[in-house]
């Protein structure tokens, strides 16, 4: 519930700071509206955005943790059901992609589990709206295309998204892995505190370079033209096949929402 009333760590500050950088007067007005909106949502406990998203859940499950008393997946769905009902959140899930019947309670959650060392369970919740999910993309590049190919793909993804997915964006990029893992890396990148650099120097440098190029596109807040198109680029990378260079871009709108709890 709370995750839908409040912006992710670092996001509010990033939006506020960007007002100074914005040269377009309409852009500055829009950014100020976003600040006012998130403050209103927090004080009144209402969702920041009506698209309260799919409940994307990522569990880092310590290998020494033993889950007792029932099915963990069902427990998460029950939590989603209660949270979306009691929290006046919109129900945005259809049970079949072609038949398109609303499930009525925003279940199922979209759950991914990773086993990690330790005896803790870390639960990430990322309510993910449809608008910014729809403009996300994945490509299997040739290794010879290298870092230039990756840059082109990220830029062209944001370029195509234009103003459609509520900029300013946070851009999650996955590089490497398998076809499916790459997409997940891009999503996981959105769970980092906004603007926190990659611990790997070559990736941190690429993040900065991409951010500058994206902001040169001129899309601006809401796509009305301006300096601030993205607030941050986060890259996650993983080993991959000698013949592969997968790259995935998962965009988040300014309504980036993320909560993490450790138990």
């Amino acid at each position: 519930m709370e995750a839908n009333y409040e912006l992710a760590t670092g996001m509010g500050e990033a939006i506020k700071k960007s007002i100074e950088a914005e040269e377009s007067p309409v852009g500055r007005e829009v950014l100020a509206e976003l600040v006012a909106n998130s403050e209103l949502a927090l004080t009144e406990s209402v969702p920041i955005c009506q698209d309260t998203g799919l409940a994307v859940v990522y569990l880092e499950l310590g290998q020494d943790v033993h889950v007792v008393d029932g099915d963990l997946y069902l427990a998460i769905d029950e939590g989603v059901r209660q949270g979306y009902q009691e929290g006046y959140l919109r129900k945005s899930v259809v049970s079949d992609p072609l038949l398109r019947q609303n499930t009525g309670d925003n279940t199922p959650a979209f759950i991914r589990v990773q086993i990690v060392p330790g005896d803790k369970l870390r639960i990430h919740l990322l309510p993910k709206g449809g608008g910014s999910e729809n403009v996300s993309r994945l490509a299997m590049l040739k290794p010879a295309q290298g870092v230039a190919g990756v840059k082109d793909f990220v830029l062209s993804t944001v370029d195509k998204a234009g103003g459609n997915a509520c900029p300013p964006y946070v851009v999650g990029v996955g590089i490497g892995g398998t076809f499916d893992e790459c997409a997940f890396l891009a999503k996981r990148a959105l769970m980092r505190p906004v603007g926190s650099p990659s611990p790997r120097p070559h990736l941190a440098e690429l993040e900065q370079e991409l951010l500058a190029s994206i902001n040169d596109l001129g899309i601006g807040p809401q796509g009305y033209g301006g300096r601030v198109t993205a607030l941050a680029v986060h890259i996650e990378a993983s080993p991959t096949h000698i013949a592969c260079l997968p790259v995935a871009v998962n965009l988040s709108c300014h309504a980036l929402r993320h909560k993490m709890r450790e138990i």
Binding site: N37, V46, P47, Q50, G220, Q222, Y224
Partner: protein, 183 residues
């Protein structure tokens, strides 16, 4: 900043230019994907639409449920492009304005010119702020569609930006051109 009210006359539409910031008051109607599909079906079958199009404005929104004390839950715009295929016909029948977010097709822009109408963007994702401007809301058609049902909203000073005017102006293109930088 213009203050405008619904329904719209041609004279009013003629005044609006891409990039203008306006506040809108009066009655507007909500419809998104599923409601548009139903309205298209109704037109094909020769049935009446749930609300009169002439002079009116459609808001592309599927609001979140209302909390006690609020007329409506968070109510920001959805991406308008998904409604593009339905729009020219609605404009031909007298629809004067649409509120959404994101770019429209060439067909829609041409229809705005031909039938004198205007496309506004509301700040996408400012759902709480926009909901505060909705004074009254009620479902008037397709209640089975849940958030996608057609609502009648009475709004007071809803803040909007003109994106496409009836002269071919397009804020998404013009704005971007102004701020793009080549390296």
């Amino acid at each position: 900043m213009f203050e405008i009210t619904t329904p719209f006359s041609d004279d009013l539409v003629e005044l609006l230019r891409a990039g203008d910031r306006v506040v809108l008051s009066g009655v507007i109607y909500t419809a998104r994907d599923a409601a548009h599909a139903r309205m298209a079906e109704a037109l094909r079958a020769g049935e009446e639409l749930p609300f009169p199009l002439a002079g009116n404005v459609i808001y592309y929104v599927g609001p979140a449920p209302a909390k006690p004390g609020w007329a409506v839950g968070s109510a920001g715009p959805t991406t308008s492009g998904r409604m593009d295929s339905y729009t020219p016909e609605l404009l031909r029948l007298g629809l004067k304005g649409m509120i959404g977010k994101g770019a429209r097709s060439e067909e829609v822009k041409a229809a705005l010119r031909e039938y004198k109408a205007v496309y506004f963007a509301a700040t996408g994702g400012a759902g709480a702020l926009l909901a505060k401007r909705v004074v009254r809301a009620r479902v008037i058609a397709y209640p089975d569609l849940g958030p996608e049902a057609v609502h009648e909203f009475v709004v007071d000073k809803l803040p909007l930006t003109v994106v496409n005017d009836m002269y071919g102006g397009d804020l998404y293109l013009d704005g971007r051109r102004r701020y793009a930088r080549q390296r």
